[in-house]
Subunit: 239 residues, 6 copies
């Protein structure tokens, strides 16, 4: 039993509000327990300079991640740091992995993930919610010129870790701060890996512990994918 | 009749959600029509360097203002500009005007105003909502050591302008972008002025037009103060 | 009687040297009492990127404000801060309000206001002197292609405040630092308002006090406009 | 057979020059094929502010990573970017995982990894070489006050990937630029994991492919550890 | 004969206004032909961090150099660049060479050199005028605690160059822009060298040409020192 | 006799490794005693914006200078400072003095000088070694379109100073830190001056001392030029 009564393989309760107060075509307020992220997807009718004029014509997806000052106590100062940069690079890479840039056409979708409340797992929740915002924005686009859908699949992410010597799923801040291992897994809806990022916090861990964590993560991703599919209905890729 | 059916002296519908997803002791999601601002009030048990060790011991209140990228279409890039700096200085000055710093004691309250959706009037709504967040945060503090309340009064703000030659209250973006005059008024709950900032956008305006706008603003402030009093109940100053 | 012997409605003695050591087509060294600002107006044969290629072809006016390190004691460090940014935005807006951008043609005039000595009222003196530099620079331009003068009118600015409970005109630093209200007024030569910026420093003020200050400011603007007209002679708009 | 004749499980030839031109107590020029990194370890008799005065007294290890402009063609501009920040955070975390900070005492060791020539695998070579520089610097320190060695173990890193559908060890730039998966593994000399960072470059990959890559990496780490042990002799932890 | 009628060994006419509008204890407006620099000397009762608490107690002198935007046509953008940094380092070094820091005591004098109009020779005129401002500021200080004067001597600077194949003294911008050699010389009032900075602009120059320029510079320094002595009267070192 | 046994006119032993680990067409590891600099010359097929489209078509040469953190003890923080900027401006000017930009054609050569170990004389060694890297890079270019060689001559640099009252050549850090004068001389292979930068560190120096130092420098440059000629063989200009 975990400190909040969850089983080792149990996600925190997840809620999604969509659309949420925003001027962006895709906007999602997603919460997992006490962690809340506002994900908005904005569409710009241009591409980065290094893409301009390149054949075949194609688009781009990028992400920005930020924690609002009131998301933690004590208050977090408002400035980009190494951690934020690293996280937004992860979010961008993850979301790009399921986008067909030629089908997207010459436009950029920017996913902004602003953490309103941080209680662990903000980067993985940003990916899971960012994907929903991305789908919502894409649903507002005209049909692509090429004969392929813009989205090649779905994407979700979850954290696992080793707490008190036992692998557990979806750590909150309390667990995260004492975990021996911190592993973030980004997977597609069909169960293949997009990113695996594991870090020994205290002590290096053997192969067997890595495998046990990957098993837990796969179960979490199945549940999150189901939730995305339910939320998005006909906008879910391949629906 | 205005483009959205309002009378010249009519505010947009206002909603307040409190507390809203945040780790801060004061948190308010305030909307006026399509404009939405998340105001959080964080308490830090320290003061700026230039206050340290100065007698009598006293605290400080400061504000930060930012527009989330998805708050406008097209998306607003995430960076401090002159406009933001100017607005957060205004918010800070306005909120400080009703705080007794000695009663506050050696701590700093930071009011963060993050605009989720921008449809005109973000700076005045930030002040009106920021005051509610400030009160909520102060309500969590122990009694001051001095025999005075921390808050000396209430504060609210509203914009007025001249649209199609007629003074109107609480402009939305559509009105604001064609207004001849843009006037922001910050007043206390007892009807005195804290800030008056008027700018001729197109053509300089005569004294009479200034007076007519001030009249409209006073009416708006009365309504906003009533709303704050109702929302805060026993936490409203002097309640 | 004020601490320097002036009446409540009396300006400090003003001197103007023109042209002053500079390579710019407009250059003015303006002093009000102990406050001295060097205003230069430079002409660039280009416009900001967001104006380029836009029909109808038109120009732009912008301003920069800075305090030289030796302008105050103790010495002021040389770096842009929020206050400077706010002030230069005010100066730019004020000067733009009397310029016909189509008559100006595809060029930018930059007004640089560098404070050599600061004894209160630097922002308003920058506007009053900046207008003279602007006129001087415009006088060097060829006739506009359109059948309208470049300048639609004149502009001047003055501060008023409440010191020891009494409204007074044109505060010096000594008065400014103890004033209860600080109000800056920017007006045209025909007595209409371009900017009104009032701030309660100590205590919020009632409508009547605002009105009394506006009365004082109007008198000051009349005197400053007369001074500009005398200095500029045939270069004064409409002369 | 790979493009350079290596087997799938074969490292590039590795050379180490030690000490190398430097004023630092630890300095290593390490090459793997055409990739060369200069790793220096400097000792500072102080700790970061957040460590100062904290009991028990302890030290810190941090890393900086940079690519010299001439390390790539075309030349790489000299400035910190998100990628560099992310890499130096990884190097720092990895090296810290084998250091006993209390045994280190109140000092900071900075590992600087400057890439002289980049042909793939710069971040993992920085860790492998950085560990040698760290050991060399620690060998110059007096005995720790506590009855424990400063180093708890050894650390090395290697990249694996999927090229042309086949898992291969230690990718050079040619392979890396066409790889479907890029996986960096940081392990201790006793075969436990410190970091696992895998990214699907083209297409998400199944669990089986992840396992095959981890197998390859383990073999590479064994060889690198042997090389470190041989190079360091008595300075290798536990030697 | 030079383009402005001067002989090869003739300085431009120099004027000094002192004090000039400023709040600093030393302030000088110095002009050489069309080049004008405002030099102010401010006194701070503190020293840089690296001097604090060091025995024997001593002070510091530093300089900042900046060109006002209107000093050139076209207008010069307001930002620090490599050239400014290099020049202010030269000014600082030059002025420090005649100051006895122990006699100065625990204070810092900052010399700000702001170029109002640039027509060649701004860095040397900044040194010559900066020295006068420095003396003026030092004259306001109480007697030093040690039995030595604060100033060990005087300092002045001048440029020489090779124009149309002939060495000439004190180049204006017209000459400077076509000169083959640009040499700046900083010397004491007793004829010894503090700085020599010579640069071949077009073509490398032989030893004989260097010697001829040094001869010209020595004559210029004698004249400038006389001018400083006359201006400063009893405040000139050793007067 | 000097502290390391050298005569007053004796250079430190110099070694050159070429090419050195780098992806750049020119790369040189040059050492003078304990000072070591890696000089790489990269070729970019473009020119700075202010050169684009200007007739006649011509190229550019620029330099960057940086000290690696481990080049000094204690470790030098990694950031641009005034000193670095000044040095890289000197290196760039010096190398440009022997390049025919029209013969170079529309390309930029960037010389990066990264100091691996600093024991005095890093800026002059950067010039001497940078010239060798520049020649090596130019040797990889196709024949120029104009009928002139790209290099007009050779360039080398050396420091001289006054230590214990005696002029000496090629100061190491120990000598440099106690020298009364620090003079850097950049000369061509035919004995003409490109740069002379002399600074009195302690006390201003008379003309005779300047002359004695220039004599020493000329001898040093002859030896360095011979070394460059030997190293470069047929790539030396005019060989």
């Amino acid at each position: 039993m975990r400190h909040d009564g969850r089983r080792a393989d149990e996600l925190r309760p997840i809620t999604i509000q969509r659309p949420f107060d925003s001027a962006a075509p895709g906007s999602v307020l997603i919460s997992a327990g006490q962690t809340t992220v506002l994900c908005t997807a904005s569409i710009e009718e241009s591409v980065p300079p290094w893409k301009k004029g390149k054949e075949p014509i194609s688009g781009w997806v990028t992400a920005e991640y930020s924690m609002l000052p009131g998301s933690t106590a004590p208050r977090k100062a408002r400035r980009a740091d190494g951690r934020s940069t690293e996280i937004q690079r992860l979010i961008g890479r993850s979301l790009r992995s399921v986008v067909d840039f030629e089908a997207l056409g010459e436009r950029t979708i920017v996913i902004d993930c602003d953490v309103l409340r941080a209680d662990g797992g903000t980067r993985t929740l940003s990916i899971t919610g960012g994907f929903v915002a991305l789908c919502a924005a894409i649903a507002t686009l005209p049909d692509p010129l090429v004969d392929r859908p813009i989205l090649k699949g779905s994407i979700a992410a979850i954290s696992v870790g080793v707490v008190d010597g036992k692998p557990v799923l979806d750590l909150d801040y309390h667990e995260d701060s004492t975990a021996d291992v911190d592993l973030n897994v980004v997977m597609t809806g069909v169960g293949t890996y997009v990113e695996v990022q594991g870090t020994a916090e205290g002590q290096a861990f053997p192969r067997g512990v890595l495998e046990a964590q990957l098993d837990l993560a796969e179960g979490g991703i199945v549940a999150l994918t189901e939730l995305q599919r339910h939320e998005l209905g006909g906008s879910f890729p391949g629906a």
